[in-house]
Symmetry: C2
Subunit: 353 residues, 2 copies
């Protein structure tokens, strides 16, 4: 059932409306793949189990909230277009998001994703590389062949994003080998730039694509894309908080999962760069040469909080959320759609906290 | 030095002219990447060693013959455009070619490429996945941002190719697990379809992109793309012959390399499907359960020849080369450029035989 777009809709209703609109085109796109990568893509999207058996029940297809596709649809409406204008863009963005999760899990060696094995773990590295490539190609084709008069501009918008994504992933991978302290240490500013490329770019693209496909003027596209980027960085900050203090029941990851893996996330980098006694004790723990066990991870989380890493990350998330709101207010937009976007913002960032 | 396009130029001169035209734009495109994937891309293109040290001497950058970029340039000229029209397309095609070698080497577990370690072997699997993604994104961006009035059509042309490439690679990977005989065996026809997707598509794209960027009518684009696809399949047939009977000094691969790995290539599949006494002895050898040693591989090569696999593959190559010539003759084209293409054809297919 498709609900009308009204300012009174709740966040779950808004997300469901956009998902219902985009799902048929997304399903149709994935069906155009060779059956083997199509099966792996469906697994990755949460539509099926390993082997291709469909996931039963009403939950099928609601893997993830569909934030990106919703943003594309709502930004097309905000820019004065129709939700239908945005469908090809929303499909492309979901395909690129899935591609990037798939390949990032290979690069990061992550064995689980959303409480299931990651694609490379379930199907092998080679097939997972292939499926990512297939999703990437399908995203470009979906947008290029959409028949929308603005599809050329939309492909250009997507292409720039793809390069940002790769840049962000390169930066993130290189962070791993760098020290926690000294002139080679990763600064919170560098982390912010990486998050802008890796997470901000795709949400910025999701928002901007909606506006491009609606035929919006450059200033509107820029304002919406900027809002999306800020939302993406806020989103990443919240993810970083959840990676340390999130409830495993909700996140699907072990408690303190990012700390155990000595992952360089914003809360840790902000704490280390604070350079007080708690920061120094934290550095000693992180550089002891061992992976952190339960006790050490719990102690590290306490020290990060004591050194101000948790509050700095919360401030970072709030700052970017505020900047997203400012961007939305900087150009004339359709009020009902902006109302929907504003309804989503806190829901997305305050999730699971 | 850029030579003028004349029907009198030799194949190496034609390839050098196109390479000289495309190289600055290709170099500039790769420089736009993050430095890390840029280094791996330069290694993969034969421009530098592991670690980034440039390959010295005049040979630098002539890694591979540059067949694909030459085809794009010559097809733009054949369709009545200028060589300059084609440059962005030639760059995109070389980037996609490099991307596909890089990811295919991961999927196939190939540890060497052109007598050097493959990228995943030299830099690790994750970084190689990343570099392939970077090249893929860069190809789309280069074409989308080229400023050519036909860039939208060019991106659509490329996007269709990308999906064919993935399909061909999926088919090829699935062949590995299938038996040599019985109803599940890979037929020579299935192999032909795979080669059409995996090798034909990119050469077809190279040719078609030149015509698209020159603003050629659909019939001209189709004829040139068809010629490129036939050339690609002929090329693959020759590669398959070289994988069995090629001189290791020239191919850079061990003698009988494809046979040792029990690779399902056209000569073997054609021999097996011939179903005579030699074919049956060949099947016994291939299904003995062991990787082939020197003696067994030499014996297998003899049996393939005896069962007609070698001559069938040569006939296949000649047939597709002839079809490529027919396609070139099916529409009005600029004679000088067609002369150059016809000069290249035998040079490309008869290489190293």
């Amino acid at each position: 059932m498709t609900l009308p777009a009204t300012a009174q809709a709740t966040a779950p209703q808004i997300l469901a409306r956009c998902r219902d609109l985009v799902r048929p085109a997304l399903t149709q796109a994935v069906r155009r793949l060779h059956p083997w990568p199509a099966e792996m893509a469906a697994f990755s999207l949460g539509w099926s189990e390993v082997g291709g058996r469909p996931v039963p029940g009403p939950g099928a297809g609601s893997h993830g909230k569909g934030v990106r596709q919703a943003l594309t649809v709502l930004c097309a409406e905000a820019a004065g277009g129709s939700a239908e204008d945005a469908v090809a863009g929303a499909v492309a963005v979901e395909l690129i998001h899935t591609f990037s999760l798939l390949h990032d899990d290979i690069m990061d060696g992550d064995e689980t994703r959303r409480q299931r094995p990651s694609v490379w773990k379930a199907y092998g590295t080679g097939p997972a590389v292939l499926t990512g490539d297939a999703l990437f190609a399908l995203a470009v084709e979906t947008l290029a062949d959409s028949g929308n008069v603005h599809s050329g501009a939309a492909v250009r918008h997507l292409a720039g994003t793809l390069n940002d994504l790769v840049r962000g992933q390169a930066e993130d991978l290189l962070f791993e080998a760098r020290p926690w302290t000294g002139p080679e240490a990763v600064s919170p500013q560098e982390y912010r730039s990486m998050a802008g490329h890796k997470t901000g770019a795709l949400l910025g693209c999701a928002a901007g694509l909606g506006a491009v496909l609606a035929g919006a003027p450059a200033a509107t596209v820029d304002a919406l894309a900027r809002a999306g980027r800020h939302l993406g960085v806020a989103f990443q900050a919240v993810d970083d908080l959840l990676g340390i203090w999130g409830d495993p029941q909700v996140t699907g990851k072990p408690v303190h999962s990012d700390l155990r893996r000595l992952k360089k996330t914003y809360p840790v980098l902000a704490a280390v760069s604070a350079d007080g006694p708690a920061a120094r004790r934290l550095v000693a723990l992180l550089t002891s040469g061992d992976p952190l066990d339960d006790t050490a991870a719990r102690r590290a989380a306490e020290l990060i909080e004591e050194a101000g890493g948790r509050s700095a990350t919360l401030a970072e998330a709030r700052h970017h959320l505020e900047s997203a709101r400012d961007s939305l207010g900087s150009v004339p937009l359709a009020p009902a759609a902006v109302g929907d976007i504003l309804t989503l913002l806190p829901f997305l960032v305050d999730r699971r906290m």
